[in-house]
């Protein structure tokens, strides 16, 4: 029998029990849908993390106060204040293979410019920050070392903030005045746009001011929240981490028995943890996918066995007019395959829709890869063949005369 005939016969048989066929497909639909969705979310998250590492720079080292042991946070009293501005200059001066070191402290505040106002993140740092973060200025200029020393009331706006505070004129931002916590700042520049960090956080939603100004005028802190250090090359990162640790222990007068009152983290390691987390989620969804595919397969096997029993006389008649065992086998195999494949196609559609929905509603980064679509379809078809084989074999092994007499 030709494939076209086989497909038509299978399609007719499935249409005859349309409701039953759809219910049978449900397991496959959910399974394939889960395959597509999990892979879209997994690939998306991974790509986002990689993009983030890219935008932060793989050579970046972050120093935060407190001894943060693996996973847990154990902050002794006062350790939050352990990092000082002098530590930054010492690192830049004394640690070899450092391209730049910059402090970064952060607070949130309302920024007002004329009639417009915008709630955003205010960062305090030094000019070295543009090098360390590899983040140039698009318009105007960054503030200078001199302005840091003078605690000048100057600000550099992230592109999102600039657009929201000065929507009408693009050139209007530089030179304008903004008010942060009742302190007037002069805008000296606008940062280049970095875009989404990949997890829905807009990196351009920021205002950067001299660290000294932030400490004196906005937060009143004398310590810094973090120090960003960039190694000269990716290979230099471990050496820089070691030297920095030794230098800081020395500067903080820690005895051999005292633990670090800071922790040095390589940004690649931090992101590795996030990748691992997203991989766990992906694995979980993949597990659901496998389970539903197996359940779907058992459903198909069950329905095909019922179908073979119901159509025993038909099988007998087909054999009586010349169908060989393998013709019957093929007929039922194609039927199971059609059932699974149609379920697979519907599952792919639902999986893509779910992934897009997650991206739209929860702002998850999703990427529906062609590979996942192929994988989804192939696994559905495979389930059809594997679970359809036993019922088809049973049908093919029937004795013609016994089948014909079956009531």
């Amino acid at each position: 029998m030709s494939l076209a005939v086989l497909l038509r016969v299978a399609w007719q048989a499935l249409r005859r029990n349309a409701t039953r066929s759809v219910l049978t497909m449900l397991g496959i639909i959910i399974g394939v849908g889960a395959v597509i969705t999990s892979m879209a979310i997994g690939t998306g998250a991974q790509a986002a993390v990689l993009a983030q590492i890219e935008s932060l720079g793989a050579n970046l080292i972050v120093i935060v106060p407190g001894s943060i042991t693996t996973g847990g946070v154990s902050l002794g009293s006062g350790t939050r204040t352990s990092l000082k501005l002098e530590d930054v200059t010492a690192i830049a001066r004394e640690v070899p293979a450092v391209a730049g070191a910059a402090p970064y402290s952060q607070t949130n505040a309302q920024v007002v410019a004329g009639g417009a106002n915008w709630y955003t993140s205010i960062g305090g740092t030094t000019p070295a920050w543009t090098t360390v973060r590899n983040w140039p200025v698009a318009e105007g200029r960054f503030f200078t070392e001199a302005e840091v020393r003078q605690s000048a009331k100057v600000a550099v706006l992230g592109s999102t903030v600039a657009q929201n505070l000065f929507p009408a004129s693009e050139s209007g931002a530089v030179g304008a005045m903004v008010i942060i916590k009742n302190v007037p700042f002069r805008v000296v520049g606008v940062l280049a746009s970095k875009g989404q960090s990949g997890f829905g956080r807009d990196q351009d939603d920021v205002v950067v001011v001299p660290i000294t100004t932030l400490q004196a005028r906005l937060t009143g802190q004398t310590w810094v929240n973090s120090i960003l250090v960039s190694a000269a090359t990716p290979d230099a990162v471990p050496g820089v981490v070691d030297s920095t640790e030794r230098l800081l222990r020395l500067r903080h007068h820690l005895t051999v028995r005292q633990p670090d009152d800071f922790s040095v983290r390589n940004i690649a390691d931090v992101q590795q943890v996030r990748i691992a987390t997203s991989q766990t989620q992906t694995l979980l969804l993949a597990g659901i996918a496998v389970v539903s595919l197996v359940v779907g397969g058992i459903g198909i096997m069950n329905i095909m066995l019922v179908s073979v029993t119901e159509r025993t006389r038909e099988i007998g008649l087909r054999m009586a007019v010349g169908a060989r065992g393998r013709d019957i086998l093929l007929q039922f195999l194609v039927e199971a395959l059609t059932l699974a494949s149609v379920g697979g196609l519907v599952g792919i559609a639902i999986g893509i829709a779910t992934a897009q929905g997650a991206s739209l509603v929860a702002h998850w980064p999703v990427i529906v890869s062609p590979l996942s679509v192929v994988l989804g379809f192939v696994s559905a078809a495979l389930v059809g063949v594997v679970f359809g084989f036993y019922p088809a074999r049973r049908a093919a092994a029937l004795d013609p005369i016994v089948a014909l007499r079956y009531e």
Partner: protein, 258 residues
């Protein structure tokens, strides 16, 4: 008197055929040593009481079932040595089987039912349709090709089944009580069709019946009892002349059919 027969070969040559269902004390000996020869072109009726083994015999002849012992040569070839696939091929191309209960696929049109054996023979679509339409036309069902079995009368359904049995040009037609579910008018119709196929198309027919008025249409009557053949006579000896008088002549029958 005997009609002249074409060729000397036996189309069907059965020797000492037995068929036992089950084993031990509950075993049923449905056939207990049956021997029968049929030439190409004959029209044989098989009669006998219920349970005498007629259907069992027909199933063996139709390659639907295997005998327990004995020899069955179909056109000179020993059937008991054939593989399952070869038996399927024999059912497909060499034997047409007609059942009492028609056995049509219920959700398929008359045309598709006739196409069925050709599907398994790998006949191309165009040829399939052409042959199926021609056969249905011959059966007087040209108008009903696209009807489903449920939309046809019993007689019409049986004619679709006969068209299906002839689809691959089988020279042998086996019919197990083909008129058992039909009224007398439809029965006469089917029997006239059988006789026409036998006389005009030279198709060999073996037909099982309980009814002597049906056996009267044949040329030769074989009688079964308890799994054995107890009689094998020409129709003129087996069926009384008064009954045979009820069978219309070829010309009259064709008149009816036209």
């Amino acid at each position: 008197m005997q009609r002249p027969v074409l060729g000397n070969e036996w189309l069907i040559d059965v020797r000492d055929l037995t068929k036992v269902y089950g084993d031990g004390p509950t075993a049923v000996h449905a056939l207990r040593g049956v021997s029968l020869r049929v030439r190409a072109g004959e029209f044989v009726a098989i009669m006998g009481p219920s349970g005498s083994g007629k259907s069992t015999f027909m199933h063996v002849l139709g390659c639907l079932d295997r005998p327990t012992s004995g020899s069955y040569r179909l056109a000179g070839e020993e059937v008991s040595r054939l593989s399952p696939d070869q038996l399927a091929l024999a059912r497909n191309t060499r034997i047409g089987f007609v059942f009492q209960s028609f056995n049509l696929l219920s959700r398929t049109t008359a045309l598709e039912n006739v196409e069925l054996p050709m599907l398994y023979a790998g006949v191309p679509r165009e040829e399939r349709l052409r042959r199926a339409r021609a056969l249905l036309d011959q059966m007087g069902l040209g108008e009903r090709a696209d009807h489903r079995p449920s939309e046809l009368s019993g007689g019409q359904q049986q004619r679709v089944a006969i068209a299906r049995a002839l689809a691959n040009g089988a020279p042998l037609l086996m019919a197990d009580e083909p008129t058992g579910n039909l009224d007398s008018t439809s029965s006469a119709d089917i029997l006239a069709l059988f006789r026409w196929l036998n006389r005009e198309r030279r198709i060999t027919i073996v037909l099982v019946t309980h009814d002597v008025t049906i056996a009267a249409w044949s040329d030769r009557v074989v009688t079964f009892r308890d799994g054995l053949i107890i009689g094998d006579r020409p129709v003129e000896e087996a069926v009384p002349a008064s009954v045979r008088a009820g069978v219309p002549s070829m010309a009259a029958a064709r008149g009816v059919r036209a």
